[in-house]
Structures are given as C-alpha cells and as structure tokens.
C-alpha cells in the first residue's frame, strides 16, 4: 500500500475533494493518484477539484448522470483531452510518482501504459490480425514474425475472442459482431501490455449477452490490469466494480467500496441516484 495515500476507516464519511482509500485489509497498491483536478471546456468548468486514488488490479466504476464529467475525467487519465483544443486542465494526475501532465511526460508513453476502450467499438478497418499486431509492432515490442503471432494469439485469448476468430484472422475486424468488435478493441488495448485500461461505457452499444461476456472479461482482466470504467448502468457497476465513484456536476460526491456504496451510501445524493430517483 502506498504510504502517501491517506487511509480512511469504514466509519469515516467520505467527503468531496478528499482522497480516499478503503480499510486496511482491502487496501491495494496505488495506481493513479489524482489531486485537485480541474478542467474547463473553454469557460465551462467540467471537473471541479477532483481527488481520487485508483488502485492497481481492481475495477473502479465511475457512475453518475449524463454530463457529470465521468467520461471527461476518464480521458484525463490518458490525456485524450489533449486532442480537444479548447480544454484546459489544472491539478495533479500522478502515475508512478510522475505527473502525467508534466512537460517532459510524453503522451505516447503514457498511452502505452494507459490503454483505452471506447463506447462504440472502433476496430481499425484492417484485418483482425492487424488490429492487434499494429500497435505492438509500432512500439517495437515484437521483432520476429513468431513473436508477433504469439502476441496476437495471447491478446485474443486474454480477451476471450481467440476461439471465435482463430480461423479468420485475415478477415476485416469490422466483419465481427458488435460484442466481438468490442472484445477485439479490448484485445487491441491489452496487446501493448498496459498497466491501466480505461473503458468508456464499453457495453452501452451492446446487447445484454455481449454485455455479460464483457463483464466476465473485466472480472478476469483485473488480475492483470487496473481497470477504470465509466458506466451508465448501476447494476453493471455493482456487478463488476470493486470501487465505485459517484460523479455529479463535475464533482465526486462519493467514492467507496462498491458493496458499501450500494448498500449504505453515505450521501443523500448518492442514495437518490442509485435508487433511481434521478439520473
């Protein structure tokens, strides 16, 4: 456990802007530390003083009503917001003790360690094999053809897609079904062996069966990776997440162990939201 991260006991009430960890036994190693993160789209402040600790080899779910800033926050973690010219961020996002927004931090290095899966499956319009092999090759992770084949197979196996596609690796990735495409995107993300995988509502475009498959997959992947997922679906958060953060109007209202959060929410707002009164 990271000694810098303040420990909070079960009795303490989480409050906005405070860093939280769970109790001693459940405590895990710190992956990403966020302190006083503010973000503006032009003049609109979308994130307000966020502070949160994300733990290694856990699934953290970010929930909250539309427009609450959870996806924006997720994109802060691999600096995808850099692509939007009007965005301005302030505050600390720290990984391995380094500020990821620092001048000398290369966003390419960051994105290699923090992979991303998007809301709509977006495989490259290339073959299934190429979808996986492209990024490792680009990062010089494989030099020999055999290594590449091996890596593709491992990524597809880890994503639970190997048996379905092993005979048609040369077919376009876009020929797969939606759920398979999303698992292909997950395989693509894990092929570069990142530490963290960000998932931005990965199942919102999928049918219930594909959704269940992806949820099972997340449960398996957390043995290797830290997963941060945004979801609109509270049952999903309850099912897959070890920790859940409730966002509202750009603030983290509550961050806690998922079980605790869903059984005894500390805040009235959280309770209202998870009981379906709004959002």
């Amino acid at each position: 456990m990271n000694s810098q991260a303040p420990v909070m006991t079960e009795q303490e009430t989480p409050s906005v802007g405070q860093p939280y960890t769970r109790n001693e036994q459940a405590c895990h190693d710190l992956s990403i530390r966020v302190r006083d993160l503010n973000l503006w789209y032009s003049k609109n402040q979308a994130l307000k003083n966020l502070s949160i600790d994300l733990f290694q080899k856990n699934v953290t779910a970010l929930i909250g009503p539309s427009g609450c800033g959870k996806s924006t926050f997720l994109r802060c973690l691999n600096r995808m917001n850099d692509l939007i010219p009007s965005v301005r961020t302030e505050g600390l996002v720290e990984m391995d003790g380094l500020d990821i927004n620092a001048q000398k931090m290369d966003e390419i290095a960051l994105r290699r360690r923090v992979g991303m899966v998007f809301q709509k499956p977006n495989p490259f319009p290339k073959s299934i094999f190429e979808n996986i092999a492209y990024a490792p090759r680009m990062h010089d992770m494989v030099s020999r053809k055999v290594d590449q084949d091996e890596l593709v197979e491992r990524a597809l196996r880890d994503a639970g897609l190997w048996n379905e596609v092993k005979d048609k690796l040369q077919e376009p990735g876009t020929s797969l079904s939606g759920g398979q495409q999303q698992r292909l995107c997950i395989a693509r993300a894990i092929a570069v062996q990142p530490d963290v995988i960000l998932m931005d509502e990965p199942t919102s475009a999928l049918d219930p069966i594909s959704t269940a498959t992806i949820e099972d997959l997340m449960d398996k992947l957390k043995e290797q990776f830290t997963i941060v997922t945004v979801t609109h679906n509270m049952q999903q958060a309850a099912r897959v997440a070890d920790y859940t953060a409730f966002f509202h109007l750009g603030e983290i209202i509550e961050y806690n162990d998922t079980k605790v959060m869903f059984s005894t929410p500390a805040k009235k707002k959280t309770e209202d939201y998870i009981s379906g009164r709004y959002g």
Binding site: M80, R112, G115, F118, N122, P123, F124, Y134, M138, C185
Partner: protein, 388 residues
C-alpha cells in the same frame, strides 16, 4: 373542431397540384439540359467522326533520277494535284535515306490532298469542275478511296490538313499532366493533411483556408500570367515547354486537390483517430497508417477531377506559349510542346474546311480521354471504398 376527410382532401388538392407543377418544372429543366448535351454530342460526332477517315490515292511511285531533284516526277502528272503535297515532298527524302530505292518503282496508297478528301466527304472544297470529274473517275476505278485515318493518330500538327495529326498534342498533354500531378499532388495532399490534422484552428489557418478557397475561383488566365512572370521570366524555365505549362497548371490544380483532400480527411470518422491515439500512435502515425489510407479514394477522385480540369485548360497555356504550331512529337520536358485543347484551338483558327473537321475530331479525342479519366476516378472510388 374536426374536419372530415372530404374537407381535408379539398385543401390537399391545391397542395398536390403545386408539388406536381414543381416536379414537372424540374423535370423539364433536366430534360432541357439533357437535350442540349445530346445536341452537343450529336453535332460533335457528326462533324468529328469524318476526321477519323481520310481519302487515299493508289499511286505508282517511280524512284527515278529526276524524282530525286523534282519529286513531282515520281508520280503521274494527273495525280500531282490529287496527292498530298507532304507525301510528294517526302519522296526525295526517302530516296536519300535508302539508296536502294533508286531505279525501282512501287504501288502505294498515298494520302490524298485535303481538298479531294473534303470533296469525297461532301464538304466545302476548292476543286474545279474538271478536277472533281477526274476524282470521280478515279473513285470509280478504285484508285481513290476513304479509309481509316491513321495519320491523325500518329503524326503531329501540319500545315496541310491531310497530314495533320493529334499525336504531338496527346504526348504534350501527357507530359504536361505528369509535371502537374508530380507537383500538385504531393504539395496539395500534404497541405491538406497539415491544415486538417495538425494545424491549430486560429486566425492564421483560417486566413489560409479562405485564400485557398478563393484561389479555386480565380480566372485561370491569371495563373498563366503568374507562370509567365515567375516560372519563365524569373526562373528561366523554357517557354512553351511541358515543364512551364505543367507548373502553371499545377498552381491551378492545387486548390482543387487541397479542398477535395480536406473533405476526404474530414469524412474519416474521429473514432478511428481516437482508436489510433488510444494505442499510442503519434499524430503522424495516425495520419499515415489510419487516416490517409481511408481517405485515399476521396483524395484520388479529387485529384483526377482536378487533373481532368487542368487537361481541358487552354487560357493559361496561351500565356506560357503552349498554343503554337508544334509539328514534332515532343521528346523532353523542356522542349516546346502543345496540348490537346491548344491544338484544338489552333485548328479552330484555320480557314480550311478540312481543319474544321480536325477541330471536331480533336474535341472527340479530348472528350474520350476526359470521360475515361472520370470513369477511372469512379472505378478507383468503388474499388477502394471501405466500410468502417
């Protein structure tokens, strides 16, 4: 208050009539446009197709001593006014090139004079009554006949209509287009890539964008003036050369390529860019490996259309000296050359009826090239179109 169907349909009648009227008007407009197009094609084909035929005279050529100095001695006296002067003039040259010919004779189909050609095709000509009778007699005897005009496709321009061909112009056009494409394609595509994928959206890039759009609307003759002033006078590029013409047309094609490339890049969905950035691509890798391949069909279509436009351009080439009498098929990019529309323009200025026919024939060749280029663009688009 509710209305019965009867009341409503009474009101609707007027609306239906109105839309029917509008439909007929727009169909009429389309029909009119189609009619004009049909008329244009019919006229061109009617005037131009005869240019692909040519009158030939079956002639006995005697390679005698006299013929070497006075070519007219080589053929029968009564054939001299009928056979093309170019053919007669070339006889001594052939004898000089091949000394074995001396003292032999041969029977060959020679090009007929342009006037005879026009007479046979029933066009305006300057033959006298006796000459016409003589030609008629030879047609009867099978010594004069119309056949496929291969000269038109294998020779350059000439002052005699019967030996004028479009090959020099076709070769000139190809060389000019090579220069145009080699310059405008890379510059245009890279400019568009920069503006679309790299440049920040600020006053400066907006100003560039507006200027590029304006550039596409500038009268093409101004590009010719620019080419003359910069390329020829300042940089000393040889006048009338495919290099000078190609560079000038490249300026003109550039905005077309930039605009179509930008549109093609913009049509690539952002999800692909996000996916590429997400796995750690640099900006250039995103463009090279993902965006450009997807945008390629659009870029190629735009470039081919820009090229087709440049191919039909005459005005700027008048200024850089490519509208001139060029009888030789060009061999290098720095030699004087002409292009198809310039050749058509030159022929259109000739008074003889035979050249009117050549003009139409040249237009048909140009149209055929343009239509095949456009068809190629469509095919390219179909072939590389990918779903995502």
């Amino acid at each position: 208050m509710s209305h019965s169907f009867d009341e409503i349909s009474q009101q609707l009648k007027r609306r239906h009539r109105k839309s029917a009227r509008l439909k007929w008007v727009s169909m009429g407009a389309l029909g009119l446009a189609g009619l004009f197009l049909l008329l244009f094609f019919a006229d061109m084909l009617n005037k131009g197709l005869p240019a692909f035929q040519q009158a030939y005279v079956n002639t006995e050529i005697n390679y005698t001593e006299e013929a070497a100095s006075d070519a007219r001695q080589a053929i029968a006296d009564d054939l001299v006014p009928i056979v093309s002067r170019t053919e007669i003039r070339s006889i001594p040259l052939q004898m000089r090139n091949n000394e074995d010919l001396l003292g032999t004779s041969e029977q060959r189909w020679l090009l007929a004079n342009g006037e005879v050609d026009q007479y046979l095709k029933g066009n305006r000509n300057s033959l006298s009554e006796e000459e016409r009778a003589a030609v008629d007699a030879r047609v009867e005897a099978g010594q004069v006949e119309l056949a496929f005009n291969s000269t038109f496709f294998t020779e350059g321009d000439s002052k005699t209509s019967e030996s004028a061909g479009i090959l020099a112009a076709v070769v000139g056009t190809i060389m000019t287009m090579i220069v145009t494409l080699a310059i405008s394609f890379p510059i245009g595509v890279m400019t568009a890539v920069y503006l679309e994928e790299f440049a920040p959206d600020n006053r400066f890039t907006q100003a560039i964008e507006i200027n590029i759009n304006n550039l596409a609307a500038i009268p093409s003759i101004l590009f010719g003036l620019l080419g003359l002033a910069i390329f020829i006078n300042f940089f000393g590029v040889p006048r009338s050369s495919p290099l000078a013409g190609g560079m000038t047309l490249a300026l003109m094609t550039l905005p077309v390529i930039i605009i179509s490339t930008r549109a093609a890049l913009r049509s690539v969905p952002d999800s692909i860019r996000h996916a590429a950035f997400g796995v750690g691509c640099s900006r250039w890798q995103v463009v090279r490996d993902h965006v450009l391949p997807l945008a390629m069909p659009g870029i190629m279509t735009g470039s081919i259309i820009g090229l087709a436009q440049a191919m039909g351009e005459t005005a700027p080439l008048i200024i850089v000296g490519m509208v001139a009498f060029i009888p030789d098929v060009g061999a290098s990019f720095t030699e004087a050359a002409t292009v198809m529309p310039a050749q058509i323009f030159t022929w259109a200025g000739e008074p003889e009826a035979a050249f009117v026919e050549k003009t139409a024939g040249g237009i048909l060749v140009l149209l055929a090239v343009l239509i095949s280029l456009n068809a190629f663009a469509v095919l390219l688009r179909k072939k590389f179109e990918r779903r995502w």
